[in-house]
Point group: C2
Chain length 341, copies 2
């Protein structure tokens, strides 16, 4: 059955019934009224973020299933709340699809959303549905809570070290494989396990929610944001908002092994993917230089996630010096930017 046959009211009924049925915590009024009503924990500040996910801009139906689209639309918002050190709570989901879309595709989309949301206790509390004249259009707004002072992009100080969680480049490697086709990538020598790893990283990214809360509460952390547009663009945000410069040692940037293996087989430069690829959803932060070693060890012990120092913040005009193995600056392209991408 298509969504046209099901109709908007039938669709909304399915979305409501697709929930657990149990009332979510802090939701006096959920899906089904003009607005959701939510009970923010006394003493907590509210966090709010929103992200568009558009067919043929953010994904292609040729390689992303409806469940992948739902997962990622939730994950990118989870990552924004994570980057503030917050606790994700409630989501509003707006979906527009062509009238001939099978209703099972819409079911799969919400199942993917819920699968990404469930481990974090996030409930879908409202949204909107509409016909789309061209392709799928998704907008997810995620609300979260924060106990106190968040880690802002504007909080970097000259002398801070720059660190990143996990490793970079896997998502861009996955996109390269998806655009090429997995069969062709295999033919060119990318191992099957690597194909699975990098495409999954692109289609089903995991937001660093626990890591963001850990770092958000840790002494010595100054600025923090998520690496969604690529290290170059995202570190640029910190520099601009904090009115500082940055220096990054390229040799210290942690390149994901899957990205390196994919790059070898396809004849790419993995450092390009790590710096300009984006969508790895790792956390990028600056901290007191004297706290870096302790933070790194405690963070790894507390979360199981790695923490790599890649450079330092310097006084100066906003901008990034990328330093090569010979200690000299290397010219590098910018990260992803919409309308210029």
């Amino acid at each position: 059955m298509s969504v046209r046959e099901l109709g908007e009211l039938g669709l909304i009924r399915r979305i409501r019934e697709g929930g657990t049925g149990a009332p979510a915590a802090g939701v006096p009024v959920g899906i089904g009224d003009d607005a959701a009503m939510l009970a923010v924990t006394p003493g907590s500040a509210l966090l709010a973020t929103t992200d568009l996910v558009i067919e043929d801009v953010h994904f292609r139906r040729a390689w992303a299933t409806p469940a992948d689209v739902g997962w990622k639309a939730m994950a990118v918002n989870l990552s924004d709340i994570a980057a503030m050190g917050g606790v994700p709570r409630w989501a509003l989901v707006a979906l527009a699809v062509p009238g001939d879309t099978p209703s099972s595709d819409v079911d799969a989309f919400y199942a993917g959303l819920r699968e990404a949301a469930a481990p974090h206790g996030v409930a879908i509390v409202g949204g909107d549905t509409s016909q789309s004249p061209h392709g799928w259009l998704v907008n997810v707004t995620l609300l979260g809570e924060h106990p106190g002072r968040p880690r802002l992009r504007s909080a970097a100080r000259a002398g801070d070290v720059i660190a990143v969680t996990g490793s970079l480049g896997r998502s861009a490697a996955g996109l390269a494989v998806l655009e090429l086709g997995a069969d062709e990538a295999r033919r060119r020598g990318v191992p099957g396990t690597v194909i699975d790893e990098v495409t999954r990283a692109h289609l089903r990214p995991r937001a660093r929610v626990a890591e963001g809360q850990w770092l958000g509460a840790a002494r010595g952390v100054h600025a923090m944001l998520d690496c969604s547009d690529g290290l170059a663009t995202d570190l640029g945000h910190i520099c601009r908002e904090s009115a500082v410069a940055a220096r990054v040692d390229l040799a210290r940037v942690p390149i994901a092994s899957g990205a390196a293996a994919t790059a070898r087989a396809l004849g790419h430069e993995p450092i390009q993917w790590a710096i300009a690829g984006g969508e790895d959803y790792e956390l990028l932060l600056t901290c007191e230089p004297g706290d870096a070693e302790r933070l790194s060890a405690d963070f790894r012990a507390g979360t199981g996630t790695s923490f790599t120092v890649i450079g330092e913040i310097q006084a100066g005009k906003p901008g990034i010096d990328w330093i090569g193995a010979d200690g000299r600056p290397v010219p590098l392209p910018a990260g992803f930017e919409h309308f210029r991408g």
Copy 2:
């Protein structure tokens, strides 16, 4: 300059600079970080609603300016908060446009949004921007506050009277004129002042925010929602959510004079526009029968807006009987529903 030449970062800078510059109330962190941080008034519940506005589904560029699109995207969300009896506070605005869109069109869109938001003290605190492969895509999420128990769709009781604020049909009349073209409508005899009135009602609807707060706090009001999909569909929501039936006297439905004048000239039935047209953004409510007369008089005195009793809620299977002048049921088409519209 196009948004492609401006780039995403340039665009976001313009959006930030387009604000008043003054920090908005209750916004410790606004546009420019991973998420906005908001201070909900202690003791208040949070309201959250979201609405898609899509080119060639919700509007046509042939007759809606970018400022109209911005205004309406804000107004439809204001109406949802109004229908809960809440106070609108903060908006997140997601906008996707083709890369060759003039940046002045984007400026005009945000100016329209702000013009609709300003009288209610609503601040734009975040959002997202993206390239669109086809046409304009807008999603606005509006957050509000509520002092206590909201008026829900599920609160109607058998014996309640049904009432509506203001009058109906003007927006549908405006859409008919816009689709026909104002010149052709004038040629067919729709007076110029009526054309201005009905097209403005469609393009620049006014949400009943003060009226919603008044009714939300008034003794005797049970269910409430906004007439966005048309009286037939919206009263159907109340019936379904409250598990009751409804009876409406067609002769009592307040038809806007501009709708009646447009219908006369164009050979339409204005009651069809009033019942199935939608987008009038009046409030539809049910209340204790013994309170209706007092509510009507006090509401008119308190807000300057009319309040018309149009029927009553009855025990029975969800559904609406439309009663004609002869006291007998009249078959009527349903209101607007996406995917079937």
